[in-house]
């Protein structure tokens, strides 16, 4: 059975199952969501209005046995940035959609009756619209429980909590993972778009699917074996990430002077050891958690973990460096257990743990709480925001709007999105990615930290300007392509350092679809996607002045290396010369 496009119209609660247009055939994941948004969404539309569309698309290899291929992309015009957005996630939804033959799910329109929230249940032949008044006002775990009671336990669930219902910019879309916990389409406020369309949750039938068809199973198996081996033999994906998770980065960024501290006032933090990956791994071992854990079936990297409290009770999983940094060095909380508790709460509430935590750090500058006041931070997160108090609404609008509401100058955002975890002045290649990516400040869009700090793919001095624009450009092109395959971005470490990795990935795509793509074709795909996204933003009103970092980084010197952001506008704009 050929894959189909499932198109849902919330204005009249109807659906159509369409053939895939020829021009979308070779696309998946981000390539497909960004193409659909660029072709079908008016760039000038209001992100929460009737003309925005919410698009889900599994990657080209999702649903196959390929390692680490279980990422699902979600796209729309972002209410946080006002530009195009793609945010991808692990969990079970990508593989289930792919096996059901759903190449993309496109959700259009807004219901006329503003008082009703719906569940969409997607099966092979049908999309059901089920009013769910009993779920309104509940957060994600309660929704998961309700769906587990209703369907086979494998059913895929994508849901929003109260904050998504209130259409706040920090709202994400949460996705059930294989262990029954949550993963997130985190960035860009996509949960607010889902809330605007009055969709509380989307379920995808996991009972009637079939295995995806592979054109050349033998070749696929062969390439898949090589690909998996490159991931397992790479010291980063094979050893470092499973042992310490992404939080291994705290100490290396701290050493390099690139750990943004006290709202980007310094590049290192005297308490880094209390929140670092090594400390986290010690706690996990002592308390009976898990240091290795996959966010989706078929993951061989296992960078996730299960983090318990001192009594051995579950606090969180998918405990990421960027969240720990933001609540730690940026906001000042030294207690890793409290950070974990807040991370687990953010899963349940359905908020982007990066945007929310960067915003809470800025709230210190706004005088809303003191630096390091974890109790007050927890209260803001657990009470003010989810109950929608006036203060909660301002906080829930994200870092940029909080900064405007309180008249702040030192606001760490690009295109309205909070800057994560890597100080642009001390990791300059990453600064170029933050400035230029159409997504707003997004570290995954072109992870120059790899080459600036981690010596992956060579080394480009993080404190110098030379080579950074080219580095960020190459990485953004490659990431756009990888984000279209359904692959986890961490395959990039093997791709950067092992010549067998990328060819085997392309061989798998060729074997899956019976095509003959070359590395050049795949890189050209990355270029095309990036340009499409950039053009959408230009039509939405963005210009060169939006490809800039916050001005304070140009005139405030960052210790310990005493560096500023010293790129000229012309130098940054060179990025788009390809």
């Amino acid at each position: 059975m050929a894959d189909k496009i499932y198109r849902v119209n919330m204005s009249n609660l109807s659906f159509k199952i369409e053939e895939v247009p020829a021009s979308w055939m070779g696309l998946g994941g981000r390539g497909l969501t960004s193409t659909i948004v660029a072709e079908e969404v008016d760039p000038e539309c209001h992100p929460l209005g009737p003309n925005n569309k919410l698009v889900f698309a599994p990657g080209l290899l999702s649903g196959t046995s390929a390692s680490n291929s279980g990422r699902n992309s979600c796209g729309a015009k972002s209410p946080l940035t006002g530009g195009i957005k793609e945010s991808n996630v692990g969990g079970t939804s990508a593989a289930i959609m792919a096996k059901l033959g759903v190449k993309a799910l496109i959700i259009e329109g807004l219901p006329k009756d503003e008082g009703t929230f719906y569940q969409l249940h997607v099966t092979k032949d049908c999309v059901e619209f089920i009013p769910v008044p009993e779920l309104v006002g509940l957060d994600n775990y309660a929704v998961l429980d309700a769906m587990a009671a209703k369907y086979d336990k494998k059913v895929a669930v994508m849901s929003i909590g109260r904050i998504g219902e209130m259409r706040m910019n920090i709202a994400n879309i949460s996705v059930k993972d294989p262990g029954g916990k949550l993963r997130s389409h985190g960035r860009g406020g996509l949960g607010a778009v889902m809330g605007s369309k009055k969709i509380k949750c989307i379920t995808v039938d996991a009972e009637s699917y079939k295995e995806v068809t592979i054109e050349n199973p033998e070749k696929f198996k062969e390439a898949s074996k090589i690909f998996t081996k490159t991931l397992q033999e790479n010291p980063i994906s094979g050893q470092g990430l499973p042992a310490f998770g992404t939080n291994v980065l705290v100490n290396i960024l701290n050493e390099a002077g690139g750990l943004p501290t006290r709202n980007f006032r310094a590049g290192n933090w005297e308490h880094a050891e209390k929140i670092c990956g090594e400390t986290m791994a010690e706690n996990i071992k002592a308390r009976g958690g898990k240091t290795t854990h996959g966010c989706h079936a078929g993951c061989v990297i296992q960078c996730s973990q299960v983090y318990n409290d001192k009594d051995g009770n579950y606090l969180t999983s998918g405990f990421e460096y960027e969240t720990i940094w933001a609540l730690g060095a940026h906001l000042g909380i030294q207690d890793l257990d409290l950070i974990a508790k807040m991370d687990g709460l953010m899963d349940d509430l359905g908020v982007d743990s990066i945007e929310t935590s960067v915003m809470l750090g800025l709230a210190v500058d706004a005088g809303i709480l003191a630096y390091g006041d974890g109790a007050r931070a927890y209260e803001l997160l657990s009470h003010e925001i989810p109950t929608g108090t006036p203060l909660g609404r301002i906080l829930g609008a994200g870092t940029h709007i909080l900064g405007k509401a309180y008249g702040l100058v030192r606001v760490p955002t690009v295109k309205g999105q909070g800057i994560p975890a890597y100080e642009p002045r001390a990791v300059k290649g990453q600064g170029i990615t933050y400035a230029t990516t159409p997504m707003g400040a997004d570290h995954t869009a072109g992870y120059a930290v790899a080459t600036n700090i981690l010596n992956s793919g060579g080394h480009v001095d993080p404190l110098k300007k030379e080579g950074q624009v080219e580095l960020a450009r190459n990485l953004q092109i490659a990431s756009a392509a990888v984000d279209s395959t359904g692959m986890c971005i961490f395959v990039a470490f093997a791709a950067l350092d092992d010549a067998k990795c990328l060819p085997s990935l392309i061989d798998m795509i060729n074997a899956r679809f019976g095509c003959a793509l070359t590395i050049d074709d795949v890189m050209n795909l990355g270029k095309t996607i990036l340009k499409k996204e950039h053009e959408f933003n230009i039509k939405a009103g963005f210009g060169k002045a939006d490809d800039r970092l916050p001005e304070f980084m140009k005139y405030e010197t960052l210790p310990p290396h005493n560096v500023t952001w010293d790129f000229t506008g012309e130098e940054i704009d060179e990025f788009w010369n390809f």
Partner: protein, 75 residues
């Protein structure tokens, strides 16, 4: 001369987090890496002295802080 040696990730196992020690003048970063047999644990990923990436041939100076990481990553 006094040098501070900092180890991270797998390099800490069976060794230490931070140690200050006396080293002869002219000691290179490579010599410290070899004396600690770090690469028996895992290949060297990143070597920094005073927060700057340097090569193993770097000749250490009084009060330098050397930080040693196996290949690690995240994001």
């Amino acid at each position: 001369m006094r040098i501070v040696v900092k180890l991270f990730a797998h390099y800490r196992e069976g060794r230490f987090k931070v140690q200050e020690g006396d080293f002869p003048l002219g000691t290179t970063a490579a010599k410290i890496i070899a004396s600690l047999e770090l690469e028996k644990t895992s290949p060297l990923g990143v070597l920094m002295v005073n927060g700057r990436h340097v090569s193993p041939e770097y000749v250490l100076r009084e009060a330098d802080e050397i930080a040693l990481f196996p290949k690690i990553g995240g994001g």
